[in-house]
Amino acid sequence: MSEPLASERAIVGKLVGDNAESWDLAGELPVTMLRELGARKLLCPEIPASYGGLGSTSRQGGEFTAYVGSLCSSVRSVMTSHGMAAWTVQRLGDPAQRAGYLARLTSGQLAAVAFSEPDAGSDLSTLRTEIRPDGDAVLVDGQKVWVTGARYADLLVVFGRYGDDAAAVVVPTSAPGVHVAPVPAPLGCRAAGHAQVHLDSVRVPAGAVLGGGGQSLSLLVTTALAYGRISVAWGCVGILRACLSAAVRHARQRRQFGKPLAEHQLVARHLAELLAAEQVSTRVCEHASECWDSGSPDVVVATVLAKHVSAGHAARGAAAAVQVLASAGAQDGHVVARAYRDAKLMEIIEGSNEICQIILAQHAMTISD
């Protein structure tokens, strides 16, 4: 079977080239490169063709996401945020909103999703951003933090309170009252454009409230996060593939005590565990994506499981890869050094390890006697 989206891989491979290191060190991606990826519909390949996307399955999009993640987790993070914005529009928007926004998100405009606030991280039930009707418009007020990709975004999908319920509203970053301040030096995915976003009485048309608003916050957030989680999970597979490849190459070439590192058993064990981590993560992501593609209700838990398993393996696998490369990889910007920092963030975002464990534990309690 040929690799899914093979020609698209070649395009992204060429666009990223050997720049991931310098982008990481500079803490910034070229926005023209992101716009080109967007215009080629590669930031959200699963969007149906009827809305201007490539109509990829979750499995195809996932393998593509892993490929991008193996090259550069900052680009992959922008994909995750943009893709989550597109998915949220697709899932919550009315037909006109879907047609309008998805055409923009598949033609070079960039989007990001804004959940977290200074006092609302894992517990989004405490979020305070307010969306309130004002004539034929709505006013948006609030403070969002760690919005991945916001630095480059044209549109933000902002989650907030809407009367007694909740809503997601699409806010152009060019609207008066939107202030985007990049996070100065993130631990990982340093070029992904994380930013704090201040929304000060931002006025947008009422038609920007997806699906008219009035959803339950927990369902709204769970819906949007589902895409982010499967995307991060596949991104972690990419991190593991990059680490496995770098560790194997080094262990083959580097000689100590008269033989290649790979022939030292304690090093070989790292290679074995890296291979196991990459394989296990791939399989759990494939399973979750198959649930997406078949419309199985198991998708909800399978996606959390994929995210949790892959992020943990990526964090441990990246640490092992740094160990194998030692001084050869212990320099900022190096593929394994980036992986080490990037993977740690993957244990935090889109549901921390602990939040995933709580969800999985609740599931275990539900299904067993």
Partner: protein, 94 residues
């Protein structure tokens, strides 16, 4: 065009949906709640499970649960889910 439905047919449809939802709940949670029992308050399900119900109902009845219908209250009881499906099916028939 919507044909006027006899109460008998409507209630037969409702019974079928109720039965299917109960069967799914039993498979997934080992619980057999009363159809008016609050599933969240009684700890039978979590809000993550409400998402599973969204996917299950969409897949089983070819409806789309979006916009303001994405509300916990619509998934609070077996009866509420049944009403939601009936309403969305009626809407897609017209």
């Amino acid at each position: 065009m919507t044909l006027p439905q006899t109460p008998g047919r409507a209630s037969a449809e409702a019974d079928e949906i109720r039965g299917t939802v109960l069967q799914f709940l039993k498979e997934k949670t080992l619980a057999t709640p009363a159809t008016d029992q609050d599933l969240f308050a009684s700890g039978v399900v979590s809000s993550m499970f409400a998402m599973e119900m969204v996917v299950f109902l969409e897949q089983s009845y070819r409806v789309t649960i979006v916009g303001g219908d994405l509300k916990i209250d619509n998934f609070r009881t077996v009866d509420a889910m049944t009403q939601l499906v009936l309403r969305l099916r009626d809407a897609s028939d017209t």
